[in-house]
């Protein structure tokens, strides 16, 4: 259930180039958030809230983590908040990665591109509860942007790819998906061109993609964030039906 809450900023730090990590305290979000869901954050001096994925929750400390890239004025303003301040946010919003069809011993591929890595991390952590085989491929622009390699390594086999080869392997995540054999299911989050390429490359494999779109309400009321689908309704709302959608139902 989505609630409007005030979450206290526990810590905020820069963890890679243009990339901030913020830990927030709020019981509702930390108890109920599922991987793939997001919070819709009110940022001072801005009309519209900003959607940011939940990267981790901790039910013991009632905290949750978000990671964000400072790309424009809203995320830059968000980066200027300090520990101890409160953020007004809605959450948890949207529908996350579906885990109900995951079966024991499945080979699962996680793909994260840039700031698409955080929700995939949350998913990776959740998947450790199930007895499955998880492989992660994470793509970044270049060395300076890489984050969370160690965090992933706790749980999974992980391959880091950079566009320019300045760290890990060189190229795009799609160049390495075939290194993993017998993939039963994949989950991906990242920029649209990456999602398109992943869908094509893994044609035939059951997959779920997490999408981004500019949002108004963030809760399904304004029709700002639709994506065309081949389902009965012909579209889905990314903020409500998504951000995670079945790769085969979306028209890319």
């Amino acid at each position: 259930m989505i609630k409007k809450v005030y979450a206290k900023i526990v810590s905020i730090e820069k963890i890679a180039k243009e990339t901030m990590k913020m830990v927030l305290e709020n019981e509702h979000i930390s108890q109920f958030a599922k991987p793939g869901q997001f919070v819709h954050i009110k940022v001072a001096d801005h009309t519209l809230r900003r959607p940011i994925s939940i990267a981790e929750t901790n039910v013991e400390t009632n905290t949750f983590t978000i990671l964000f890239k400072t790309v424009g004025s809203g995320t830059r303003r968000l980066a200027s908040y300090e520990a101890g301040e409160y953020l007004d946010l809605l959450g948890p919003n949207g529908t996350g990665f579906p885990l109900d069809r995951v079966e024991e011993n499945d080979v699962i591929l996680l793909i994260g591109g840039g700031i698409g890595v955080p929700p995939v991390y949350f998913l990776a952590k959740e998947l450790t509860r199930l007895n499955v085989n998880v492989h992660a491929i994470l793509g970044f622009q270049s060395k300076d942007y890489v984050f969370y390699e160690e965090e992933f390594k706790q749980w999974n086999d992980v391959t880091i790819v950079t566009d320019d080869g300045s760290y890990g392997k060189k190229g795009f995540v799609t160049d390495y998906v075939h290194d993993i054999n017998g993939i039963d299911r994949y989950f991906a989050c990242g920029p649209l061109p990456m999602l398109k390429a992943v869908k094509e490359e893994l044609e035939g494999v059951e997959g779920y993609l997490s999408f981004e779109e500019r949002m108004g309400c963030g809760i399904g009321a304004c029709y700002a964030c639709v994506i065309p689908t081949n389902t009965k309704d012909k579209y889905k709302k990314i903020c409500q039906d998504g951000p995670v959608l079945h790769a085969n139902e979306v028209k890319l």
Binding site: T47, R49, A221, C222, Y235
Partner: protein, 303 residues
């Protein structure tokens, strides 16, 4: 006791605050946050003759104290709205206003006709800011003759009161209002969005896929207040005012300018509780400024 009630054609409002069309869907999402029965009324998302899928995305962009939107009237079509959405809203026992849109006068007629058969529909809001496909895309809302024509034709086929929603993108808002009054409208709602644009410096293209979008939010409040003030001076139709309302003080400003009731749009996105919060705060604000009722405040700036 401060009296918040307002009686308008078709609308017995226990308070003057309602969500604006397109900013509240059909109420389902906001009903997660609060009991919608506290609202004065509700205005639904636009209904067209058949399902519309709207414009390509991005459909929204942020601006200083405002936002642009070009949703493009996406809606499931009037039949499904009647079958699926109105029954949901009915449970809250508040007046339901349907926002009617179309690309031809015939489409307006058809949608209005269907809606007016819905037993407890309180009123129709004619959204005339749509481009008329027959007339080469010119908006009904910017030409007084076309606005009068669509008003007259819709009035002829419907038994529920018709409120016509004025576009602010005109040289002479009073002329529009008078033409619509003469055509038999029961009321006006104003203002719809101002046409605007934002250019993405990275792509060098208009950020909104539709290129232009409608500007809403506090940025446009001074334009809304001015237009309501002018229209109030020259027509006697009731006015539901909107454009940038965020607080109960804003509501009072609209009332003083001449609005009989108000609608809240963009502010719902910032704070899903904005309508109930305004409703709770309004009596306090009215009292602070010396009013005993909403009716007393209406038109206060004209006395």
């Amino acid at each position: 006791m401060i009296d918040l009630s307002v009686s308008l054609p078709g609308l017995e409002l226990k308070n003057p605050v309602m969500p604006a069309s397109g900013c509240f869907g059909f109420g389902r999402e906001y009903s997660q946050f609060y009991d919608l029965s506290v609202l004065g009324a509700v205005i639904m998302k636009a209904a067209t003759g058949t399902e519309r899928l709207g414009n390509p995305t991005p459909r929204v962009a942020e601006t200083a104290s405002g936002m642009l939107n070009a949703i493009g009237l996406q809606n499931p079509g009037v039949d499904r709205i009647i079958a699926e959405e109105i029954p949901f809203l009915r449970q809250f026992h508040i007046p339901i206003i349907a926002n009617v849109a179309g690309s031809t006068v015939e489409e307006y007629e058809e949608v209005a006709k269907k809606l007016s058969k819905v037993e407890d529909l309180a009123a129709i809001e004619l959204n005339i800011s749509c481009p008329n496909v027959k007339e080469g895309g010119i908006q009904f809302g910017i030409d007084p003759d076309m606005a009068a024509e669509v008003t007259k034709r819709v009035k002829a086929v419907t038994s529920v009161p018709v409120y016509v929603k004025l576009s602010p993108n005109v040289t002479d808002i009073v002329q529009m209002a008078k033409a619509i009054e003469a055509a038999g409208a029961d009321g006006l709602t104003m203002i719809n969005t101002l046409t605007g644009m934002k250019i993405d410096l990275k792509t060098k293209k208009p950020l909104i896929a539709n290129k232009t979008g409608g500007l809403s939010g506090p940025a446009i409040k001074p334009v809304a207040i001015r237009m309501i003030y002018e229209v109030r001076k020259h027509t006697s139709l009731p006015i539901i005012g909107m454009g940038g309302i965020q607080t109960a003080e804003d509501v009072l400003e609209f009332l003083l300018a001449g609005a009989n009731a108000v609608a809240v749009g963009t502010a719902n996105f910032q704070n899903p509780y904005v309508c109930p919060e305004i409703i709770q705060h309004l009596p306090i604000v009215l009292e602070r400024y010396g009013f005993h009722s909403v009716k007393e405040a209406t038109g206060g700036a004209h006395r």
